[in-house]
């Protein structure tokens, strides 16, 4: 059963895209860095002005620290790579937990206090230390705003290590595809759609989970052997599948019509897909058997249904679905038409 996280879609406001410390480029001087640089300039002036070699020693140390700070943070970040390992079911607008692997191939530099950010991450990910020639696995919370196939392309690495003079950034490639399920809407709307079918239990005159025989058909690849009609198959000499009648009381037939007239906005289409996903999710939650019909597809497995809803694309040619009076149809219409249900 698909169980999306309980976080409401409005909750994850921690999306970090506008965090004040983020920047374009590769390096930025921090406040303590500015202080230190100014102080180094001051010490340099004092050393040159007085010719005092004790000050030159201090100046050498300061310049050495600045130099090393830059080299260490750059050298450390340069050898870091990030791999996308996994993500749980990802729903648009809801946080999804996943894992990343951060590897440090440097032979010299440990990298501490590392922050990972990306437009797909719900919040910056903090990594305490990535030792040289080591890798660490970190939990990350993703937040996707749109359904569909999302490709993770890059991730930004930030570090102040070692001395905090510079905030260094490196953008690394990351490869990973995530199918993001549609945004789930308020469950109340889905309940409204259930009212007409609540309490009834009758034959739906459609194939589906049930006890009555609906029809026999040829075996198709992927059919379960449990549904083979053995006697008929033996008599006919080929594989025959027994289709049962869908019991409407425990079953819902959902039809998703991807036709999008040009006058309908993308947002309306997305809203329709979200409504369908929310309805299916509610139905599954109530224990209904759900069959979803889409062009050239008829799906019963919850995961497959949501995957199909995640990937459904609008079509510009009208589609005539087979519906009966118990079908729940999700479709968009021009503004002068009503959505049917």
């Amino acid at each position: 059963m698909i169980t999306p996280p309980a976080t409401p879609h409005s909750a994850p406001s921690t999306q970090h895209s506008a965090l004040p410390w983020q920047f374009d480029g590769v390096v930025r001087l921090t406040r303590i860095g500015v202080t230190f640089v100014l102080f180094t300039v001051f010490a340099g002036f004092a050393a040159i002005n007085t010719g005092n070699n004790a000050l030159y020693i201090g100046l050498s140390f300061m310049l050495g620290a600045l130099l090393l700070s830059g080299v260490a943070s750059k050298g450390g970040l340069k050898h870091l790579s990030v791999d996308f390992e996994s993500v749980e079911e990802a729903w648009a607008g809801r946080e999804a937990h996943g894992r990343l692997r951060v590897a440090n191939r440097s032979r010299i530099w440990n990298v501490r206090d590392l922050i990972l950010t990306s437009s797909e991450l719900a919040a910056p990910v903090f990594v305490g230390i990535v030792g040289r020639r080591r890798d660490v696995h970190v939990d990350a919370t993703f937040l996707f705003h749109r359904r569909g196939l999302v490709q993770l392309n890059s991730i930004d690495l930030y570090t102040r290590y070692p001395f905090g003079f510079f905030l260094k950034k490196r953008r690394v490639k990351i490869r990973g595809d995530v199918v993001v399920y549609p945004r789930l809407l308020d469950a109340e709307a889905a309940r409204e759609r259930f009212r007409p079918i609540d309490g009834e239990q009758h034959s739906a005159s459609r194939p589906g989970p049930g006890s009555d025989v609906h029809a026999f058909r040829e075996y198709a690849r992927g059919d379960s052997l449990r549904h083979v009609a053995w006697k008929k198959s033996a008599s006919l000499g080929r594989w025959i599948i027994k289709q049962t009648e869908l019991e409407a009381g425990r079953a819902v037939h959902v039809v998703v019509d991807p036709y999008k007239p040009r006058s309908v906005s993308d947002d309306d289409f997305e809203q329709m897909v979200s409504e369908a996903a929310t309805f299916v999710h509610e139905a599954l939650r109530r224990g209904f058997e759900v069959v979803v019909s889409m062009p050239r597809l008829e799906l019963r497995n919850g995961r497959e249904i949501f995957r199909a809803l995640a990937l459904i694309e609008p079509v510009h040619e009208p589609f005539v679905p087979l519906v009966d009076r118990n079908s729940v149809v999700f479709a968009v219409r021009r503004s002068d038409e009503r959505k049917s249900a």
Partner: protein
């Protein structure tokens, strides 16, 4: 490490930074003691889990405002030094900041102030022991920086994570920073600001054992001061003849009001030969070479060993402020290095008549002189008699304050018969004057200790001494009536102590020569030596290569060049896929920046070009980021890029 422990460490670091101020005496001890007391109180409060508000914050803010006016008063009237007043101000701020930190995070400012205290401490330090202080300070400073960096990162990421132990990391970075500093130190330009004169002026706070006047009206106090004044090295063949060393620094040849004065005269520039040598006397007898490293403690006066007749490697030399003393024109320098040529006997360049000193000889002194010399008439024999008489019949008192009263030279000779070296020298000059022989007191440094590890004689301030020169009609001869066993440096230490002293002095020598006195001349010498070494090496290679540079040699060279070219070609062919793509994109007018991904670069291409290149970038990413190594990907990218280019 808890936040409280870090806070205590930060406070302790600020206290530690001020410790050398006690020793360098940049400021008086009272402000430092007060500072440490306040900081200690803050530390104790923080350790007890209380706030740092040892003084109410509003009072501290009021004091801070009041300090603006106090600073001017301090600089003008109390400490009478902008440096001292600034150091007081920095210490005040350092004590104020922990209290202020309750209201706002001010780590950057606090570390800055700690660093300023540290700078004030090292700026006035000239001893090698400052080096371990710098290292210890840097270690804890790095730890503090790492802590602040960690805390800022945690705050930025809105995360909660304990700080990892940082001692090992700080040690690692301290080592690396020290290595970097070691490389940077000799390369930092030693060109002084030619426009603004030194703000800090001389930081040596030096005082010498030599004085401008031998004032017998006041009791002399002598304190032990191991500061090195000069180091002299010479060959072993020279040591028997020129040691114990006597570095001449002052000549006292006029007597007035119970004071021996230096007869001032104009500074006379001495002629310098084209090769940079300055001749100050005529030599006779065998000569030897020596080398000196000297710190200026009395203006820029040179302390030349007795027997010196020529100086090499110095800028313009002047004779003055008295006859037979010398100084150089080398402004704003703490030390100098020069070569010396010494002869067994030296005489002034020009023969002149030398008067007898103006010491008011009394009849008892004359009779005493006559009694000592007996029937000897040769002035040098008479001088030797008097030297022997004083050194054997008079008592040397190392601490003049023990005599307990003011004493004239006559008192010394006729009644007290005890005193320190200046009395012995003055007594001998008085006796020689009574005999009508020109004599004068010479002040300088005597003896020194030979460091067997470096071969240098080290003379310190505590080796200050006075002796006598008697004129024989052609040259000044040296006599020393002070008992030899009681002269400076005559004390014997244990063998272990001697070696410990030698090792310590070797470290000090390296510190003085290679660190403290490292200057523009050393830098130039370093670069010139490097250039000459490289040139000599090339010349040597050329000399070796030339005989074999025949056809055979040419063939070998050509083969080597071909190998190098092949290696280069091989490396060029083996360029990583990223470089290939970047070059391709550059040809299309898109520069791939260091923070850009290939996708971003692709977005800047025209649609057709982007579509053509997209599969290659996918291929590159698979090759670069996949866990599995795809061996043919780079060749494939190269082939397809070539196809695209054509």
């Amino acid at each position: 490490m808890s936040e409280r422990a870090h806070e205590i460490e930060a406070l302790a670091l600020a206290m530690f930074a001020a410790v050398p101020l006690y020793l360098t005496q940049t400021i008086g001890p009272v402000p430092i003691v007060v500072y440490h007391a306040v900081m200690l109180a803050i530390v104790l409060r923080v350790a007890a889990g209380k706030s740092a508000e040892v003084v109410p914050a509003w009072i501290m803010r009021g004091l801070a405002i009041a300090y603006i006016g106090f600073y001017a008063v301090d600089a003008a009237a109390i400490s009478r030094s902008a440096i001292a007043a600034s150091t007081h101000l920095v210490l005040f701020i350092s004590a104020y900041q922990p209290i202020e930190s309750m209201r706002r995070r001010n780590d950057a400012q606090r570390l800055l102030i700690t660093a300023l205290i540290f700078t004030a401490s090292i700026a006035s330090a000239t001893h090698v022991s400052i080096l371990p202080f710098v290292i210890v300070f840097a270690f804890f400073f790095f730890r503090q920086l790492m802590h602040v960096a960690h805390r800022d990162t945690i705050a930025a990421a809105a995360a909660t994570a304990p700080e990892l132990p940082s001692s090992r990391a700080a040690g690692f970075y301290l080592g690396a920073t020290s290595a970097a500093a070691l490389m940077l130190f000799p390369l930092l330009p030693r060109v002084r600001n030619p426009i603004v004169p030194g703000l800090a002026g001389s930081l040596t706070n030096a005082s010498t054992g030599l004085s401008e006047v031998i004032d017998l009206n006041n009791q002399r106090t002598i304190s032990s001061d191991t500061t090195v004044v000069s180091r002299v090295t010479m060959g072993r063949d020279a040591m028997p003849f020129f040691t114990p060393l006597r570095l001449r620094g002052a000549v006292y040849d006029r007597f007035r009001n119970n004071q021996w004065l230096q007869a001032r005269r104009e500074f006379l520039p001495l002629d310098m030969s084209p090769n940079g040598s300055v001749r100050i006397a005529r030599d006779s007898g065998f000569t030897r070479h020596a080398f000196a490293q000297q710190r200026f403690v009395t203006g820029t006066r040179l302390f030349l060993p007795v027997g010196t007749y020529q100086i090499d490697g110095v800028p313009q030399v002047y004779e003055g402020p008295t006859r037979d003393t010398y100084m150089v024109w080398q402004p704003r320098t703490d030390s100098i290095l020069y070569d010396l040529r010494m002869a067994r006997d030296v005489a002034p360049l020009t023969v002149r008549r030398v008067p007898v000193s103006n010491y008011p000889v009394t009849p008892p002194i004359t009779s005493m002189a006559r009694r000592i010399v007996g029937n000897h008439t040769d002035p040098m024999t008479q001088a030797a008699d008097i030297e022997r008489y004083l050194s054997t019949n008079f008592q040397y008192v190392p601490d003049p304050s023990k005599i307990g009263r003011r004493m004239t030279v006559d008192d010394f000779l006729l009644h007290e018969r005890r005193g320190h070296c200046e009395y012995f020298a003055a007594g001998m000059v008085a006796l020689m004057s009574a005999l009508g022989t020109p004599a004068r007191i010479v002040g300088g440094f005597y003896g020194g200790k030979l460091n067997p590890l470096t071969g240098w004689f080290v003379l310190r301030r505590e080796d200050a001494h006075a002796w006598v020169e008697v004129y024989d009609g052609a040259a000044w001869r040296t006599f020393d009536p002070t008992p030899a066993s009681l002269r400076p440096g005559a004390g014997q230490g244990g063998l272990l102590g001697m070696y410990a002293s030698a090792i310590g002095d070797s470290i000090n020598y390296f510190w003085d020569r290679r660190i403290l006195t490292y200057g523009l001349a050393d830098q130039l010498r370093f670069f010139v030596d490097s250039f000459e070494s490289a040139r000599d090496a090339l010349r040597a290679v050329k000399l070796r290569v030339q005989p074999v540079f025949t056809m055979h040699g040419a063939a070998i060279a050509a083969a080597m060049m071909a190998v190098v070219a092949l290696l280069y070609l091989f490396a060029w062919q083996r360029r990583p896929a990223f470089a290939l793509l970047r070059e391709h994109l550059a040809r299309r007018g898109v520069e791939v920046g260091s923070a850009m991904t290939m996708e971003e670069a692709l977005g800047r291409l025209p649609a057709d070009d982007a579509a053509a290149l997209a599969p290659l970038i996918s291929l590159y990413e698979r090759e670069r980021f996949s866990a599995h190594v795809s061996r043919g990907a780079r060749a494939e990218i190269r082939r397809r890029l070539a196809a695209l280019a054509s």
